[in-house]
Structures are given as C-alpha cells and as structure tokens.
C-alpha cells in the first residue's frame, strides 16, 4: 500500500513537471528546465506559510502565486532570448535556487529540510487520488486547449515564431503566458510534494528532476498528451520507485534514472532535429 502511494505520488509529481515542460516546448518553443526549482520554491512557500498558521487553501494560493510570478518573469525572458540562452539561464537559475535554499537556513532549515508541522487533512489514499486527478485534469485540459483556435495559434508560435508573426500572432506574448502557465503546473507539483511527504529538502526538487521532466515533456506527442505524459512519466519517474521496491542500492537507482533520462533527451533532440531538417 505504501509502495502504491509512493508510486502514484512520484509519477504524478513528475507528470505535472512534464506537462509544464511540454506546454513551454510546444507553445513557446523553449526548453523549460527550471520546473524542479519552481516546484521547490512553491513547496517551501507552502510549508512555510502553513507552519505560520495560515490556512491550507490560502497557503496553496500564495505558493501558486509565487510560482506563477516566477514563471511570468521567465516567460518574459523566454520571448526575448534565443533558445540556447534560455536553457543556459535555466541551468544557472536552478543551481542558484538550490544554493539559496541551502543558504537561508533560518527560513528553509538548510540541509535539514523543512517539515510540515501541521498534520495533513487528507489521508494517503486521498492524496494519491487527488494527485492522479490533478494530472489527468491538466493533461486533458492541455490536449483540449491545443485543439482550440487559440491553442493552434500557440502551437504555431512554438513551431516558428516568424510564421506566427506573419499570421498576426505575438510570439513574445504567447511565450509569456505559456511559460507562466507552465510554472503554475510546476508549482502545483511542489505543493503536491509538500502535502504528500510533509517534508521538503533542497535536493528533492532540483535540476535532476527538471532534466527528466524536460525529457518527458519534449518526448510527449502533442496529439496524444494524456497517453504520452502518462506512459513516459511512468517510465521516467515510476522506474526509480520500482527499483526501490526491488531493493536496488541507492546510487544505482539514481544512476539508472539518470541514464534513462539522458538517453531520452539525446534521442528526442536527434529526432526533433531530423524532423526540422526533413
């Protein structure tokens, strides 16, 4: 039972981050790698607010707002930077965020991690169900959105900003909103992590998770978002928990996770480049 809970929650968190990366990649044409860091900021904000006695729903709103504001800032940059510069700045910001979370230990408890002092109002079964529901809702919503006229405009903008400009669309505005909304999904993943595990550490939601989410987000086909995100998230994020179940040693588990994510990233980059050239 505990394994099933862990599996569902881990896959759901990964799937939410992947949905965020997928939305940015398809709609803005940008590789959004800071999803893990935005989730970490949201998780810390949420736990910090709840520990201060703020009601759960208000704390969730505050954490989502933090994630969204960060996303809008990154979206503003995404519309004005080249793709590789945006990815590099994402790598830099992910590392800076992790270091800041370690440094300000008076607020974040540094290397000890931050624990939720108030017990969660939901049981493990309810949290797992809620996590799966949120993922399904967001993935279905995104799949539906990409079939609407506005969604098609965003897809065109993500595929070619020049074509989008010729069609009367504003790629910078699309990037702003696409990355901002992606950050909301990432922040929701962070809150889910905080509620499910009632604890967050600077290394829990970091660059490694962002890399794996980017791999899944790029690999997921735009026409089958729900199935693509579900299957690939299970392969990328559930595999680690399965290895935990079969009692594989810790470093080997992380190594397998890294190797799988890396191979997917290489494969998707080569495939996307081949499609572009073709």
């Amino acid at each position: 039972m505990a394994f099933a809970f862990l599996l569902v929650v881990s896959v759901s968190i990964g799937a939410l981050l992947s949905i965020a990366a997928h939305c940015s990649f398809r709609a803005a044409g940008r590789l959004f790698i800071v999803t893990g860091s935005i989730a970490a900021v949201a998780a810390y904000t949420f736990i910090g607010a709840v520990n201060q006695g703020i009601p759960w729903f208000v704390a969730e709103a505050v954490a989502l707002l933090c994630g969204w504001l960060l996303g809008m800032l990154l979206g503003w940059l995404a519309g004005r930077m080249s793709g590789e510069a945006f990815l590099l700045i994402g790598l830099a910001l992910a590392e800076v965020t992790r270091r800041l979370l370690y440094h300000f230990d008076a607020v974040t408890s540094g290397a000890y991690g931050l624990r939720l002092l108030t017990p969660a109002p939901l049981g493990t079964g309810a949290v797992a169900s809620l996590a799966a529901t949120i993922v399904l809702f967001l993935a279905s919503g995104l799949a539906w959105f990409f079939r609407t006229p506005l969604g098609c405009e965003w897809l065109v903008s993500g595929a070619s900003s020049r074509a989008a400009s010729l069609l009367g669309s504003n790629p910078q505005r699309v990037a702003l909103w696409a990355v901002g909304l992606s950050a909301l999904a990432a922040a929701q993943a962070g809150i889910l992590h905080a509620v499910a595990f009632q604890y967050v550490h600077p290394d829990d939601l970091a660059l490694g998770l962002g890399v794996a989410a980017l791999a899944v987000g790029v690999a997921a086909p735009p026409r089958h978002v729900v199935a693509g995100v579900a299957i690939l998230s299970f392969a990328a994020f559930g595999l680690r928990e399965v290895l935990r179940l079969v009692d594989t040693a810790g470093p080997a588990r992380f190594a397998v996770y890294q190797i799988v994510a890396g191979i997917v990233l290489i494969g998707m980059a080569l495939r996307t480049a081949a499609n572009e050239v073709g």
Binding site: L31, G83, L91, A92, E95, R99, I259, L270
Partner: protein, 298 residues
C-alpha cells in the same frame, strides 16, 4: 594576514583551474560556435580515468595521471563532438539539450560503475602530487600554472593553423566551409577532442581540489561559459575575467559562506546572458529606428 594569504592562494588555484577550462572551451564555443555542455562530461571523465589509472597501476606518476586524464577527456569529447556535429547550428537549443542528455548519461554511468562517486572514492582520491615534490598549496598549483600556459599557447597556435581557421569558417557558415573544401564533421571532431583532452586534465586538478564526484565538471563549465561570453576570444580578457570572478567568489564565500560562493558562478552566467539580451535588443531597436526613419543621420 594568514586568512588573506589563504584567500589569495585559493583564488589563484581556482583561477588557474578556471582558465584551463576556459581554454578547453575556446575551440568549441568561440571558433565553432557550438553551445554544448559536453566538456562537463570530459572534465569528469578525465578525473575518473586518471583516478582509475593511478589506483589500478599502483603508481604516483604525475605523467601517467595526466595522460590518462587527457585520454579519458578526449575520448568522451569525441563522442560529444559526434553528437554535436549532427546539429550544425540547425537547432542550437536542441544541440544544448542533446549535450545535457550526454552529460547526464555519463554522470549516471560513473555513478553506476563506481557505486556513487562520493561513497566509492570521496576524499580518498589518489593524489599523484602528494609525494612532496611540488611546492605551494595546493600541491598541484605549479603544474596547473604550467598546464594553463601550455594549453593557452597551444590554443593560440592552433588558432593560426589551418584547423583553427577551418573551425572559425565552420562557425561562421557550414555551407561556406563545405564550399571551401572543409569537412565540418572531422574538423569539429578534432577541435572538440583537443578541447576535451584539456578539460580532462583540468578535471584531474579539479578532483584533487574538491574530491571526485560525477557532477564535478558542471559548475566549472557553466562558469567558463559565463567568462567566455563576457570576454570574447581575447586570451588576456579571459584570464582577467576568470581572476575577477574567482576573487569575487572568494570574497562572497568569506563574507557569507560556501553556499553563496557556489551560487556566484551561475549568477554571473545569468547576468552575462541578461546583459547580452539587453545589448542585442538595444542594437535591434536602433536598427529598427533607422529602417523606419531613413533620413536619420548614421
């Protein structure tokens, strides 16, 4: 006085390491204009290969350690170059993503083979400089200075040979380089392999400085990106920026602790990228104004 000399010595060692990494990156980033993180994998591969060679041969020979580091780094870089050359600037962000995947795979393989880096080797990294033959602190510093000078000189020399000019031509236009009879893939392979060998040697020094970890090269290569983007190709500018960044890091570490010191390099890279964005947009706006108002004096 003791603290100051310790800070300056640390700054010197770190700037030597950073200058060596920047030298390794020049061919790839400045000449070929390939934005790739594959040198981070070479950095780590060099450190692990040197450690493997020194520990399995039960030797403390510096020459063997350096040769193994350069071999490991060069081999890793050649695989990275083959991946990078697939893109040929058709999708710079995709090439960067591919190199990130490559680095992740190499890190995963190292963790898998060595049982987790820190757990397996950690601070017990075999130090071929521990025999006391080298003066200064850290013990590798004199050799590091010699290596950085040699690598910078070699890069300077390669830049004036056929290979360097061909690399610059490929960086400007692959199609033009093909017309000129240059084989882009082999030239890229050559330049990146040489850079990878230098990065591998830098990785050995980095491991001696900070211990052996699979992610050892990532932060150094990010800093090197920032320095090269800020300084351009001028060797003196690279050295000046590297020294400046390291002094800043040491100061931040002394004032506010190690975590913020580690955050200084990535922050510098982010600021350099932001400055580049602002500069490009300002230039773009200026050109746009001139196009809209042709009567404006130039």
């Amino acid at each position: 006085m003791g603290v100051l000399s310790q800070l300056l010595n640390g700054a010197l060692a770190a700037s030597v390491l950073l200058a060596l990494t920047c030298t390794a990156l020049v061919g790839q980033l400045v000449w070929l204009r390939v934005v790739s993180l594959s040198l981070a994998a070479s950095f780590a591969a060099g450190a692990y290969t040197a450690h493997l060679a020194v520990s399995s041969l039960h030797t403390d020979s510096v020459a063997i350690a350096l040769f193994a580091a350069a071999l490991g780094g060069g081999l890793c870089a050649s695989v990275g170059a083959l991946l990078d050359s697939t893109f040929h600037r058709k999708g710079a962000a995709l090439a960067l993503m591919c190199s990130l995947g490559f680095v992740t795979v190499i890190q995963g393989l190292m963790t898998f083979l060595t049982g987790g880096g820190v757990t397996a080797f950690g601070l017990n990294v075999v130090n071929p400089f521990a025999g006391g033959a080298w003066l200064g602190q850290p013990s590798w510093l004199p050799l590091g200075i010699a290596m950085a000078s040699f690598a910078a000189g070699t890069q300077f020399w390669i830049g004036r040979t056929w290979a360097g000019r061909a690399a610059v031509a490929i960086g400007d236009s692959v199609e033009l380089a093909l017309v000129l009879g240059v084989n882009p893939r082999s030239c890229q392979l050559l330049i990146q392999t040489v850079g990878g060998a230098v990065a591998g040697a830098a990785g050995l020094l980095g491991a001696l400085d900070a211990g052996l970890r699979p992610d050892i090269g990532f932060a150094v290569v990010l800093k090197a990106f920032g320095i090269l983007l800020a300084s351009g190709s001028s060797l003196w500018h690279v050295l000046a920026w590297a020294a400046g960044l390291v002094v800043m890091e040491q100061f931040v570490g002394f004032m506010w602790g190690g975590q913020l010191r580690e955050a200084t390099g990535p922050t510098f890279l982010a600021l350099v990228l932001l400055a580049g964005m602002i500069r490009e947009r300002t230039r773009g706006n200026r050109i746009q104004r001139r196009v809209v108002a042709p009567g404006e004096p130039t």
